[in-house]
Symmetry: C3
Subunit: 675 residues, 3 copies
């Protein structure tokens, strides 16, 4: 693939989803006036417009959209133009009722929400590509067009379909993967529970069954379903690249999310974009969003864009607490800190109708008088002052593995040692622990590449292949430090437990064998002794056996695993591989992480509690963001010669940052390297 | 409509549901003997008798019912005769399987419980009217016939159906309402999420969808479903009024209940009747029942009847705690206090079979020896002593708005600021707070009339129309006091958010704008400072802006809304409109309510904690009920010259009333007014 | 039926499920080597092998199984050979999709788990019998064949089916039971809620209904469904007894489990076998397993076999805590103590694929090095030392009634006094209380025979018949002691409440009438005064009336039942019948039980807290097992002249037993009897 197309908008991007079809045309002029007031330079248009563009089959109304784009252009605002295929129009669904998706219990889901289609539906594929081509052809030369926005949040309302069409497509997918039914039988272990198939025709998706289903079948259905969504993107992207080869293409992610393998989608995008909706009622949710930002930054190893976020409250939680002005600003600055090209919101003007009428917007129901618009203006002004940050990058010496296969394999099962050990939750905790140590973490595939890093973190890798193990071994042998969490290396790519049990292909690298996973009951805890300190373990620990030559860094104290190894280190070539066989409390996790980072020579950035430190750099100057996620004022040590970018004043060596406030310092890079 | 027909039973009504078809005929003589012993004068007969009256299509057996009615008449007992259409017989369902209801997931619900019909089924409508006419014709001249009982608890087991027949009826209903599909598209905001319909044929009921559905569609489906049930009542009532023009017609309500718009049903009834099943395990449930009683009293502004209640335990909760003798008596007296024509129970004799075999009865499984029958006799004797109360009325100076449209609109949504703010729960709390202040509250429609009242209370009115706002404004301008709770005036009748946001058409009247609702997380609280006292808010508060001229009576302290208005007052003409932007704790709510009542000149009746005071009057004497809902003995100040009605003795100025006991005092009305 | 065939394996049985088809043939040699190392003498083979034996219709591959059996035989290991009908092969299900089961909501459950069949399917019945005959014919003379294993855990994944085939079979079953539709209408009380049926054709299974269903219909559906599963066993057993008349037949139970009436299955088996999976995370779960063991011992009044248990963790709970080495050993010894012929596990070698890959095994994923295999060897050695125990029996003077009809009747209802009073939970508590008193309890049918016992315990018998009452009366009149718990004698065999209410036919025997059940709300408690001690009641108490001549042994104190009887005793002939009208806390239950046992002359075995004492005897010597279920070391008084069987040394009169340890003492029976 040629060099990715980039987003041609000057400065930091600022804007949101704009749905002018929900408003009378006279409101549009007020919209662009307010956008200009706030410094908006990009809006997403047309995401759900199919029904308005083609209200009946073959009856089109594009003129209103022409006028919208003209108006935006006239006011200097660019468009992230959707292909309008996020949801089908009513006429299409009624003409082809078989394209409605079906759940695992056989219920065909009705039209009346969004994403009302089976991803494998040939009708849907054909029709969505047809519309995509119409959009591309009509607007390919429009001066407002800055980016293509394909579909919307693939895998949000609908990521799996169990209908007969999907079943047929699943069978075809399996035939391609396994070629012979014997190969499938072996991969799925169908000799267990008398499930041997005589032909691919006998296979169905994993619908509701009397008891637990076949794990390998479920894993393959996850893969198939993800592939079906990726195919939808491919279909549209092919048209867009044919018609508008110079315009970048994106589709919006939803953080690190299980529905689709984002590595696959990211590889096909020109720009990675993300929707982030941390819950203001959860003090840690900002760190959770940061995990997603690390992924976005890493997905194409380049700039990315926060394409949606909430100006205040969302509407889809049970209780939707608004964002304070400070929280909104902190959230925005955090995205910038992590490499976003800007900050965009859902949505520009708060809807009066439909399912999102209670979702906050850049302009609230009260219009220009609303607090959210007041804050929108302030934020626009601050982002303008940060224009120089665009183009700078975040440099990470640590990497963390995120792997969809492993995630699916460990979460789509009724039968596990523990349903409580959720990979995503532990990954988020590891990432937060690193963030609190001021350490930037790139996200990498399980296959690597690991070369750019000093340390690789694996919170869990339930499914691990020999190739992955070989890549990790090369990394360690050439001096890298590896830290692997429990329940890793359990199954192979067919979800077959590795011969000899976990950690399977990681056994030699880690120098341990897992004799038995030993999950802890709800509320139960164990104790781990590490360097004379004691930490608590909960949810999970394992009975492991350290090989000769493997050092035991921590042991369990009391309980059924008393005296057995909890944390080990195995030297391997020039590096070392550590295995943490349990879920530790926050303090313990931080200690283990800090020790591994120290071993790897990664500098930890000392900062007050709950202050996240992220640095963007352009090689000449560092832009360091201190993001105070705490409700207390904090005092920071700032580098000599630093400038407070937002205020444009020099900084003293010690500076206070208010609760939920941010400090952005520009400092020249000294010859001895950044600190 | 002509003057409502009244219930021709002397004294207070006493009785229950009587299902003689469940018992051998020899048991009937014992039944009437025990009824006479207990003073029973009215029984409900035939509610579920269709299967017994017509066991096969066209094969009838009415003779047993003839004998039952004759026997009752011979013993001086009147019949509230059902039309026997509460549940279809098996042969009808099997001949027309398409009349069985279907849920939102497409499951057709099986025969074997009750209410096994689609309310829109033409077969059901035709057949139920046919049976109704047979009943009316056969018994029109029977001397025991005192009232017609149409169907049973409309909307209990089944209030919504998603079957194809219902879908067709829904489309017809929508066509009548909107005339053109363009009007519907505008009303429903279908341009959101690409939901534009090209014709009414494309519309289906709001079945299970991949994501959240269209709010306006859901609201209209609620309305349609309610109308379908009202139509069933209309069909039968038309027959009854044709055949027996002098006999009053009722259908039993279930308190204030979301399934059907009871305002619509009440307008069609001659006598409003109610089923009340407060949970004895819940100390506040009596107050909840009282909320329903206020509605019943107000529904036709006249006498009403408690047609069902539990003598002891019900059977349908997870844990069904029996009523003590005292609780049963208190519950009965409370209904009388609130204007009921009497007290009836489900059911006369405890069933040995079927789904209600564990529901208590006036005669328990042990028969005459059962505690419940012992208490039945005692209560019958006490009610006889209260005969003079019949015909007296409760006078209220305060009114509270109950509006089904608003209720449906705010509860049928997946996407709300908070799923925790339940209108019905807050309405019940406001009503209880008034009851504890000894203030009678009438329930009124959102359109009024408000003239008879000094104060109007609106715990919440999510859906508010300009016409309602105008009526409320007239009320305030002419001297009324209005107290409105949060999340009011949000949407219009199409569930479109009012232009400019809440409180929409109430903006000028209340003198506030709601900038943002600010729900509180589970367990979180805020503080409100009011007159130097501090109260807690939970679940809900709002960021509001008071207009110039609007007085701020209370403010938030601490938290994200620190210093912002919590309670406001806006003078308007000769009256004032107050807005309470949060959910307060009990003490705070009582304080706010008491202040509003005081402002309106409504006299609050001082009484000990948890003693409810209600007065019935005939213009010459007051009957004051002190209902001690507490577990402690309480001391009361009683009016001079009062007589203890139950004991027939004069009362001292200070009287004690035992825990869970009631005192009923008759006192002459003095020239300076009661109290 | 002729004398039951017995299991021809010398010494105590030791082994597990062996699934060689999941492994390459070269692994089989290692398997038998390790089996011999561990002393395995019986393995269960072929349970889920149909798909492997007949991968396509009519295409067979039995040779591998021939080789497996030959190999086992060559190594001195016997086979518990399955008929391979636990789950159908794919080709059968695809050829006959109507044989897949359907749930109460109409969802047809998909192939891909196990037990994917409608129990009433004629295709399934025909095909499973066909395969059973093939197995029997092929292996009837194989020297390894020691027992037939029919199906697997009937009623585990699937015990009820609501499909049209089941509906048709249900109607036929009803026709046999009731002969006329009038009889059914009367039995079911269909006059309630207009449910009268004109013909059997109008009846359907109790699918999802708008409201609560008919209790009698539900009870009959439970009976029908149980009978359908028993019929499947009968079909296969008939073939096996025809082809291999000398080989014992079993099917594995799952403790005391609601899906099938195990009394019916046990009567048809030659050997009763059981699968027991107590949760190691639950300290009381061992006692729960013991309840099942008492049933197994009693089901045929003879030896039984623990056919499945977990060597360590299971995989199907939310959190699957492993067993410590001590716990595994204690669990095994407990089964032996209660009369098991040996100890078997699921499974021999831990699977690498399929839904049970995370279930522990006798040989873990690490193979010979795994802890579980190490423990397997140790346990095998200890069991060998206990060989003499085989053939000894447990003698009980107390019996407890377990009755499936009563269980189903009280648990399949939406409408009960309390959903919290679960019979099985209370039965387990009563059994545990007896076990902690060192009292062996046989389990008996509600019809008896009771003659062999001094005391009969009935934790609850919701459904009680006059015949049962007569048998119990005879037992008491001839000197027996009866202790009956609350909510007994409520309904008859048609689930009709007994005339006069509970305890129905037990009224004269118990000398009490239940005026009203009085369930307690969640968290609420009451107090019972018994012999100057006070105990707490929760969940349940009743307002009862003691007849003249009935002694009140305990009364309620405070609350709505203050002063009323809680525990009564009624003398009847030479014995006495006690009624305990509430659920007591553990101390209270133990006190009540101990008093009843003392009254009956049953000797209570004093032992330290949580030490279970069970004795097996051969008439000459007693083998007494002290099972220390506590986490503390305990000191025991051991009989004079006793030998520590496992260590082969004489015991002092006082011996300590470590936490979770077991002591087995062999002592000669003295002339004055054991104890």
């Amino acid at each position: 693939m040629e060099q990715p197309r980039s987003l041609d908008v000057p400065g930091l991007v600022f804007g949101g989803d704009y749905n002018p079809e929900q408003w009378p045309e006279e409101k549009w002029r007020e919209d662009v006036r307010l956008m200009n007031l706030a410094g908006v330079n990009l809006v997403t248009v047309g995401v759900f417009s199919w029904g308005r563009l083609e209200p009946r089959e073959g009856v089109f109304d594009f003129e209103w959209l022409d006028r919208v784009l003209d108006l935006l252009h006239a006011h200097g605002i660019k468009a992230d133009l959707a292909t309008a295929t996020a949801s089908p129009p009513a006429w299409l669904v009624r003409a082809h009722p078989e394209m409605l998706p079906v759940d695992a219990f056989g219920t065909r889901l009705e039209f009346g929400s969004r994403q009302s289609y089976c991803p494998s539906s040939p009708v849907w594929r054909e029709q969505s590509v047809r519309l995509c081509r119409m959009m591309a052809t009509r607007y390919k030369d429009h001066p407002a067009l800055a980016m293509w926005h394909v579909s919307n949040e693939y895998g949000d309302e609908l990521s799996r379909c169990w209908c007969p069409t999907s079943a047929q497509a699943f069978r075809k997918w399996l035939q391609v993967r396994y070629r012979t039914i014997d190969a499938l039988n072996e991969a799925w272990g169908t000799c267990v529970w008398s499930q041997i198939y005589a032909s691919f025709e006998q296979i169905e998706p994993p619908r509701a069954t009397p008891g637990p289903g076949n794990p390998s079948q479920r894993l393959d259905f996850e893969r198939f379903s993800s592939d079906a969504l990726v195919q939808l993107f491919d279909d549209e992207a092919a048209v867009l690249r044919e018609v508008t080869p110079g315009v970048p293409v994106t589709t919006n992610f939803m953080g690190v999310c299980p529905g689709v393998d984002y590595w696959e989608l990211a590889a096909r995008e020109d720009i990675v974009s993300n929707d982030a909706y941390p819950d203001p009622a959860d003090d840690d949710s900002g760190f959770g969003a940061g995990f997603g930002y690390s992924f976005m930054r890493s997905a194409k190893r380049g700039p990315w864009l926060l394409l949606e976020s909430a100006p205040s409250a969302v509407n889809w939680r049970d209780v939707n607490v608004p964002k304070t002005t400070a929280r909104r600003r902190l959230d925005a600055m955090q995205a910038i800190a992590h490499g976003s090209e800007g900050v965009m919101y859902f949505q520009w003007r708060q809807a009066r109708q439909g399912a999102e009428q209670h979702h906050s917007a850049m302009v609230g129901h009260r219009g220009e008088a609303s607090r959210t618009f007041h804050d929108t203006r302030s934020l626009g002004a601050e982002l303008a002052a940060l224009a120089d940050v665009r183009g700078t990058t975040v440099h990470a010496e640590a990497a963390m593995i995120v792997d969809w296969d492993s995630w699916w394999a460990s979460s789509a099962l009724e039968s596990l040692p523990s349903q409580r050990l959720a990979w995503a939750e532990q990954a988020r905790r590891w990432h937060q622990a690193a963030a609190m140590l001021g350490v930037a973490v790139d996200i990498v595939r399980a296959e690597g590449p690991f070369d750019p890093y000093r340390v690789v973190l694996i919170p869990g890798l339930y499914l691990a292949t020999p190739a992955q193990a070989a890549a990790l071994t090369r990394f360690v042998e050439t001096g890298g430090t590896l830290l692997v969490g429990g329940f890793s290396g359990v199954v192979d790519e067919t979800e077959t437990v590795h011969s000899g049990g976990p950690p399977g292909p990681l056994r030699n690298l880690l120098g341990v064998e897992i004799d038995e996973p030993w999950p802890l009951s709800d509320g139960a805890t164990g104790a781990v002794e590490l360097d004379d300190a004691a930490f608590a373990t909960h949810l999970w620990h394992e009975s492991i056996v350290a090989a000769a030559g493997t050092a035991v860094l921590a042991r369990y104290r009391g309980g059924p695993l008393d005296g057995r190894p909890a944390l080990t280190e195995h030297a391997c070539g020039q590096g070392q591989a550590r295995y943490l066989s349990c879920v530790l409390d926050d303090a313990g996790l931080s200690t283990v992480l800090q020790a591994a980072l120290a071993r790897a020579g990664v500098v930890v950035r000392e900062a007050p509690s709950r202050v996240e430190v992220v640095t963007r750099t352009d090689g000449q100057a560092d832009y360091t963001f201190w993001l105070n996620h705490s409700e207390q004022e904090q005092t920071l040590d700032t580098p000599a010669g630093a400038i407070d970018v937002l205020r444009g004043i020099p900084l003293a060596s010690s500076t206070t940052v208010a609760a939920m406030d941010v400090l952005i310092a520009r400092s020249p890079i000294r010859s001895e390297g950044s600190q």
